[in-house]
Structure formats: C-alpha cells, structure tokens
Assembly symmetry: C2
C-alpha cells in the first residue's frame, strides 16, 4: 500500500486555512490532525474535535514519551501535534493535514522530509489586510499585532514548497489537492511500479 502524504498548511491569519482543510476532508477524504493543548476549552469547543484538551502534567508526560511530532509553548499554554494519529493515518495510505504556523512547519519538515509545505495566501497584501480586519470588531491594537505577525510570516514564505492563493475557495482546495496528487505521481514515488514494469516486460 502506498503511504499517504503529509500536508502542512500554513498561512496568514484570516486567509481561510481552516475552511480549506475542512473542504479537503469533505471533498477528498483527507484526515485532519487534531492538536493537543493545555489551554482551557472555549465555549463550544469539543474535546477530540477542536483540540485534545490536556492538563499540563498529561502534556509533559506525552512529551517525555515522544508522543508529539512537534510542540511549542505560547504565552502560558502548550500546543502539540500527537504523533500516533499522524503515523497511523499515513500508514493506512491516507493523506493527513496539519494546520500549523511557520516554525512548527519547519520542525516537522526536519522529521518528515517528504512533508508538503503549502503556504496559503490572499491575492494581494491589501486583501491580506482586509481579511485580518475580520468582522470589524477588533481593536486597532489587535489589528496592528496581526499585521506585524503577517509581515514576519511573509519573510518565511520562500521556505515553503508551494504557494497557493485562496481567491476562489473551490479553486484553492483543488489546487492544494493537485500538489498532493502530483507528489504521488513523482517518479521517485513510483520506483516499484517502474521496476515491476521492466521485469514484467522482460518475461512476456
């Protein structure tokens, strides 16, 4: 059985990564990795769906047992990507999506050199700003913070394998799926088929 692809989705805040990921699950049967965190659930968040909610002790124990592909601490909370789900799904031949920020993406690539790093962006800087503004209910300070973060992230875009514009959602989802399909068709991922073909033709 062919192993699945590990698809890392990053991108600016508000650019629609989450919606793209959801569509890849619904339309193309991708498996979405759920992160673990020590922060408290917000209203409406479901354990095992939005996050795996863990105590700090549980989280640290998982770190000790190599239970995370990567983890990081933001402010006073831990966030991590559980290893078992990702590896089980890949072995089953499923494509797995991780939605993760830039530094986490690079840490994952160190362990999974075949991971596809895809950066989702908007058609222009102006449009990125529009989307950062969100529903127009944020303070000037929050918006400035998001803009600064976007500027930081933009400096790392050229470390990604693929840059995909989310202008039309369906198109964006198709494009992301295309880079995963293309990876499966790469010659280096079909050496067994080539070998079988050569051997098979010899004995015909």
């Amino acid at each position: 059985m062919k192993k699945g692809s590990l698809l890392i989705l990053s991108g600016f805040s508000g650019v629609g990564k989450g919606t793209v990921a959801k569509q890849l699950v619904e339309r193309y049967g991708y498996s979405l990795s759920v992160s673990a965190t020590t922060r408290k659930p917000r209203e409406g968040e479901v354990d095992g769906k939005d996050y795996f909610f863990k105590s700090v002790d549980e989280f640290k124990n998982l770190i000790d047992y190599n239970g995370f592909i990567e983890y990081a601490r933001y402010v006073e909370n831990y966030y991590g990507t559980p290893r078992k789900f990702v590896e089980d799904e890949l072995k089953l031949g499923h494509n797995v999506i991780l939605e993760i920020e830039v530094q986490g993406a690079f840490r994952i690539r160190e362990q999974y050199p075949d991971a596809l790093l895809v950066f989702i962006t908007a058609p222009s800087a102006k449009e990125i700003k529009n989307r950062l503004l969100g529903r127009g209910t944020e303070t000037e300070e929050v918006i400035q913070k998001r803009l600064n973060r976007a500027l930081e992230e933009s400096a790392d875009m050229d470390q990604y394998d693929y840059i995909i514009v989310n202008d039309d959602l369906d198109q964006c989802v198709d494009d992301v799926n295309s880079v995963v399909v293309a990876q499966g068709c790469l010659k280096d991922n079909n050496l067994d088929l080539i070998q079988e073909t050569i051997e098979g033709l010899k004995v015909l």
Copy 2:
C-alpha cells in the same frame, strides 16, 4: 502574465496518450502541438490537424531556420516539432502538450528545463501487452516488435519527472492536469507574488 507549462507526454504504444491529450484539450483547454512530417498523409488525415505535411525541401529549409524544437528521422521520413506554435502558446499563458517518444522528450528537456516529462503507463506489464495487441489484427511479428520497443522504453521511465497510470481515463487526465497545476504553485514559480506580498505588507 504567467507563462504556460510545457507538458511532454510519452508512454507505451496503445496506452492511450492520444486520448489523454485530447481530453486535456477538451476539458482543461490545453493547446496541442501538431508535428510536421515528410511522410505522405494517410487516408482521413488532415493537414494542420494530424500533421503539417511538408516536402523534404520544405522540411530541410525549416531545419536551417531553426524552425523545430526537435526533429528526427525514422526510416525515410522526417518528423519535427514546430517551434513557433509552442513558444507563442506558452507566452500566451497556455499549457502546451507535446506527445512524443522518449528520445525526443529528452532533447526537448535540454532546451526547456521547466518542461514536465510525464510517462503514461498501464497498471501492469500484462496490461501493457494486452494494449499492444490492439484489435487483435496484428501479426505476431508486429506484436513482438512493439513488445521489444516497450521494453526499451521502460528502461528510460526513470528519467521522467512523473509516472501516471492510465487505468481509469478520467482519473488519468485529472492526474496529469494535477502535475501541471502543481508546477504553477511551486514556490519558485511564485517569487514575484512573495516579493509583492512582503513589500505590500511593509507599507500597510
């Protein structure tokens, strides 16, 4: 305007390259390059559609004027890929298909390093043989010749960028289109967008 992709389709005889190419034109708007040849038209063949039919003098004149991306002589006939059509279409941002055998594909790659070399195959060696048999009207000698040629070609499969199985036609056409879409999304083909994004975010 983004340049189009140059898609080179090769594959074993009978594997359906021509049908795949036709579907890419119909469903996805690709431009299909038409070869020039000095051989006589067969019944039903249309000049400018199946081939551009040329006299030997005309053909040699085109060679002298660098009119071909590549050309070759088989038995006593010349075959060549006219340069102008391919370059005009690429400049217009269209994806161009060349259906061409292995050695021609490699000569084209030397001039167009971004060309996508896709080898179309069947799911198994046995199935390749079934398709070589065609309509069952060929002599044993013709079939053996085709098999020998397939064996030769199989030795070069690992020089291709992508290996795509034509089991289900629609799936195969989608897969070929995916590798072209993926090429357009490659980071290196979006450096302008990255630069504009960085500069644009700085001044917001």
